[in-house]
Amino acid sequence: MSARDAILARLKANRPAGEFPLPDVPTFAPLVGEDWVTEFAERLGKMGGRVERAGSPADPFAPVRSRLSGAAVIASAVPEFAGNRDLAAITGPTEVNDVDVAIVRARFGVAETGSVLFTQDDLIVNAVAYLAQHLIVLLDPADIVVNIQAAYQRPEFGQASYAVLHTGPSATADIEGVLIHGAQGVRSLTVLMLPRKKRAA
């Protein structure tokens, strides 16, 4: 008998007696206020991330200019900003190891936790969200959902081959509880509130 069949047979044979129905999960009342952008920003702040409102239409990236001006290699996965490393041309993930700043757009944000979601399509190269030194995330305020429960109603989790919630930068406190950003992945995560460009009708 294969391991598979043996395991399944034992699970059937050893099934505990009794009825154990799958419970319905009620929709819980949100624990955030009306202003989801503010709630999102506050909660992401507690997780070590930053939120900036977009600058003027002429220069929406003004609030993150200092981060960008210090960067030699900028990889952009968004049409709003032209970096100097073309992610579409990358042939292997290790090629993005020298990226200083990566700019990506989040599918949605979560007000309750300050999380943002990416799929493989948003990142183009998944690894860039970890190998880059810093991450700048564009988020349309209209794309914020209220809480984790609402987030898991979104279709991405059943469709994307890779979907990830980022809530702040890479962090560790494995040494005496001292909080350190940039444990293995990005050292900072900045969310820039910038609406998506309206698709042409």
């Binding site: 294969s2 391991a3 598979r4 395991i7 399944l8 034992r10 699970l11 059937k12 050893n14 099934r15 505990p16 154990f20 799958l22 419970p23 999960v25 624990l31 909660r43 507690k46 997780m47 930053r50 993930p93 290790t94 190891n97 309750e112 936790t113 999380s115 493989q120 998944n126 690894a127 969200a129 970890y130 429960q149 987030a151 898991y152 989790f157 059943g158 081959s161 890779y162 979907a163 990830v164 919630l165 980022h166 809530t167 930068p169 890479s170 962090a171 560790t172 406190a173 494995d174 040494i175 005496e176 509880g177 001292v178 909080l179 350190i180 950003h181 444990a183 293995q184 992945g185 990005v186």
Partner: protein
């Protein structure tokens, strides 16, 4: 109900003020406020000077019962380590309380999580088949492993087919169960742990002492020693940022050139074939997204039916573990990247047998948050390595004997059965009741020391015979033979070594009652 509900003093005072450091190196937010996410301590804790050698774990001698008490005593003999450990984990427990008290539906979430888990475990064959079909449809190679050895062989085969010689991995208790690192080392595969705590433990050739914070028993000085020895860092520099950065800089090249990446699994979604990992460092994402070959090791009890159920578990996991609302990264691996292979290994390793254990099968609900360890007063004072097993603390006491009843026969006795573990458990495992039940099983199967069982037999003989009992407690000295310490059977007088003996009263209650409340001649 809110965090205000907790006694104010609890947030102020500490039990071991000597480990509260004045300086605070932890990251701060833009407004200068101290950040407390991930596994960060809420206040600086620093057991820095004088230097004290790190106490090591239990002595493991083949199949002989682990002497947890002996290892715990050595841990206690290193007071700087013990106090920092206790204070650090109590702090995490406190953060957990604040997080839990901040969610009105907390207790309802625990109940839901428990019910989802018990449902899934009692229909596990069905959900595993559903998971397998979904994963295959996503282009994933699915493997089944009977036990740890099977798992290791399957992974080795995958690696060999790809000519892979090195593997980066994120933290996985399952691979600890399987003895994965040791096996791979013996087969010339270079395994690199990428969780900082786990990396520290790997470099120190020590097992993880905690399921979430593998190196929580070490001070920064211990880490500085390990890194100086293995990574060539400055032995006199124990700055946590320097140490963490040194690790990042030395691990990054290993991640870049690794031939394969492996992660564990926090939740496996049956309907979508998804593996979910929760990390603060993003190291599971590095392991899964950088190397050309991707492997996920999954304990079969990790299955949950649907994506929507993550809306329950994700809210519970990090809050229970660290008091943080969510881990920095919650990652959902469903299919391979273009041009690469993704493998999932479903591992039994005793789980299907545990399902048949009437009193113990619900331990399979465990989501490895470590909350029971953080709250356990015995664990905090003895260190995770004192248990000499993959799983330490309360959950270890009830899981470890399912792997080896003799070797871990002593562990269910390393508890006061105070029940705090059960109350913090996010999936409502009745941990302390299972500890009690294990003691019965072990006594019935004569897996407890003859001396101990003999003492209980003698105590039972005295306590069931009023006349014998009366005679025994006539004096304090003789009372102690049957009462608090049963110590007459124990030549070491373990009570009196550490505590003063109770004073002998003038007379027992029984004698007082006879003298004051009974008419002469009515005595039975």
């Amino acid at each position: 109900m809110s965090a205000d509900d907790l006694t104010p003093r609890q947030t102020e005072d500490v039990l071991h003020p000597e480990v509260r450091a004045p300086s605070d190196e932890s990251e701060r937010g833009p407004g200068g406020d101290r950040l407390q996410h991930a596994e960060a301590a809420s206040k600086p804790i620093r057991a820095d000077a004088p230097r004290e050698p790190q106490p090591r774990g239990a002595k493991v001698r083949g199949n002989r019962p682990i002497d947890q008490a002996e290892a715990a005593e050595r841990f206690l003999a290193a007071p700087l380590h013990q106090k920092a450990h206790d204070e650090r984990l109590w702090d995490v427990r406190r953060k957990r309380d604040v997080a839990a008290h901040g969610i009105p539906e907390w207790e309802e979430l625990r109940e839901l999580a428990s019910q989802i888990k018990t449902h899934t475990l009692t229909h596990l064959d069905h959900y595993l088949e559903q998971f397998e079909a979904a994963a295959r449809a996503n282009g994933v190679h699915v493997h089944w492993a009977e036990d740890g050895a099977d798992h290791n062989r399957i992974v080795l085969d995958i690696l060999r087919k790809h000519g892979a010689k090195s593997l980066v991995k994120s933290k996985s208790m399952l691979t600890e169960e399987c003895g994965f690192r040791h096996f791979m080392a013996a087969h010339d595969i270079d395994v690199i742990e990428t969780d900082l705590g786990e990396r520290i433990q790997q470099l120190d050739e020590e097992e993880p002492s905690h399921v979430v914070m593998p190196a929580v028993h070490k001070t920064r000085l211990d880490v500085a020693d390990v890194f100086a020895r293995t990574l060539g860092t400055d032995p006199d520099n124990d700055d946590a940022h320097y140490l963490a950065e040194s690790q990042r800089e030395t691990t990054r090249p290993l991640i870049l050139k690794a031939d394969a990446g492996l992660t564990g699994c926090n939740f496996a979604i049956a309907e979508t074939g998804t593996v979910v990992t929760c990390t603060n460092e993003g190291n599971a994402d590095l392991s899964g997204n950088v190397p050309p070959l991707q492997i996920h090791s999954i304990g079969i009890e990790k299955i949950i039916p649907k994506v929507e159920h993550l809306g329950v578990f994700i809210r519970l996991l990090s809050r229970s573990a660290l008091g943080s609302p969510i881990t920095q990264y919650t990652s959902h691996f469903r299919g391979p990247r273009p041009g690469t292979e993704m493998h999932m290994v479903l591992v039994d390793n005793g789980r299907s047998e545990r399902l048949a254990m009437e009193e113990f099968w619900t331990s399979l609900k465990c989501i490895r948050c470590g909350a029971c360890m953080n709250t356990c007063p015995v664990y905090r004072r003895s260190g995770g390595l004192s248990y000499g097993a993959t799983y330490s603390g309360p959950i270890g006491l009830i899981i470890d004997p399912t792997f080896n009843k003799r070797k871990y026969s002593t562990l269910p006795f390393s508890s006061t059965m105070n029940g705090s573990c059960t109350n913090v458990c996010p999936v409502k495992i009745n941990i302390h009741e299972q500890i009690f039940a294990w003691r019965k099983v072990l006594a019935e199967e004569h897996q407890i020391p003859l001396l101990k069982q003999g003492m209980m037999k003698a105590a039972g003989a005295v306590l069931s015979r009023p006349a014998a009992y009366r005679a025994a407690i006539q004096t304090a000295d003789s009372a102690l033979r049957v009462l608090p310490r049963f110590a007459v059977y124990n030549p070491a007088n373990t009570w009196g070594k550490k505590r003063e003996m109770p004073q002998a009263p003038r007379q027992s209650f029984h004698a007082w009652y006879r003298q004051n409340r009974m008419k002469k001649g009515t005595e039975a």
